[in-house]
Symmetry: C2
Subunit: 249 residues, 2 copies
Amino acid sequence: MTQTREDFEARLRKIGAERYHDLHPFHTLLHDGGCSADQVRAWVINRYYYQHTIPMKDAAFMSRVEDPALRRAWRSRMEDHDGTAENEGGIRRWMRLAEAVGLDPDYVASRKGVLAGTRFACDAYLHFVREKSLLEAVASSLTELFAPKIHANRIEGLLKNYDFADDSSLSYFQTRLKEAPKDVAFGLAWVLDHADTAEKQDAAANALAFKTDVLWAQLDALWGAYVEPARIPPGAWQPGEGLLLKRAS
Amino acid sequence: MTQTREDFEARLRKIGAERYHDLHPFHTLLHDGGCSADQVRAWVINRYYYQHTIPMKDAAFMSRVEDPALRRAWRSRMEDHDGTAENEGGIRRWMRLAEAVGLDPDYVASRKGVLAGTRFACDAYLHFVREKSLLEAVASSLTELFAPKIHANRIEGLLKNYDFADDSSLSYFQTRLKEAPKDVAFGLAWVLDHADTAEKQDAAANALAFKTDVLWAQLDALWGAYVEPARIPPGAWQPGEGLLLKRAS
């Protein structure tokens, strides 16, 4: 039976409460100051692959949208990540974090050493958006409903617990705090408007659950590779690789 | 510089020696009898997703092949998995293993509870074969070069260490011991014939390394979820689910 708009929204929010990656133990470790410098670096290298994927995902979505108004509304997401004349964009901001933790941004940008589990999860998201219905593609973006809380916790926890953390290195998260709410308000309204049958509501809810899997699986891969007992898979980043050579001071 | 046929074959075999999943600690645990019944079940449920993917991968490959002779040579792989009038096929044989470890084959076939990490890895393989060159697709199948050894070890280890193991429950592996060598002899010759530039040799070697990642990442996901300290992700199989109801004896 088709749910009311309110009940369906509550169902989507419950998926976040039960499955969003703020519940993963890696985030507790990171935000509480329990990560070594190399564990933070491993997170920055792997999470970059996700940042790298997002604008491709948004372009794939727009390539399938026939309504110019929807494409226009969506395009700001690419601008937020890739930048504009006025805005350096999220990908460059991520590189400031990379430098602050001692990584060579060129190494991070090369995506060498990214865990297979990270690549497969992010690529799954890209393929999902290429192949599924537009409703499912938009619904899969709604993990941003749950992002402001984790970003606020992260900024607070990193500032408190790590020397590398300051306004410049954390500007990615500061900026996302402002950007994500406008994106998700649009996306949520669009999903609530378009999921007008029980079948579509199920598809949208499953798409959101899929996306929580994409995020969770990245942290599982990171945990297995770099948290005790660490088992770094063949070909993945080894501590010491990709470091920034310090300029003589 | 283009390698000689012999050097290039040696390079491919070295990738297996360094990256094939026989080196993963889960296989040591499994083959040495160290897995609990639930850990064996988790492996059977998750590995089924790989079995489920393989014939789709082979069909995707054939859908891109314009040479009828190559399609004909490849088609036997689908017959080996999906079965023929005379041959039950690998997927049904896998279900005998599932029943032998106490799982409901309908549950296993539903693919509920499969780890996100497993799905993303197997789906990555399917997308790889859909999107990359035919040479890379064939090269990615060459992990079968390394399979007979692991299958022989597995049969020996399971028979020795687990009550469920017998000729019927292990028939999948017994049969693969016969099937894989013919497939891989064809695939290896095809890759050696067609990788006739340094660039193509690099692409083929990278494709084989990618496939070892696909296999390794599945075991990493399994280990993280079900081996101590187990952290079962949201939505994944919980011990006790999907069990076969025993008939009254």
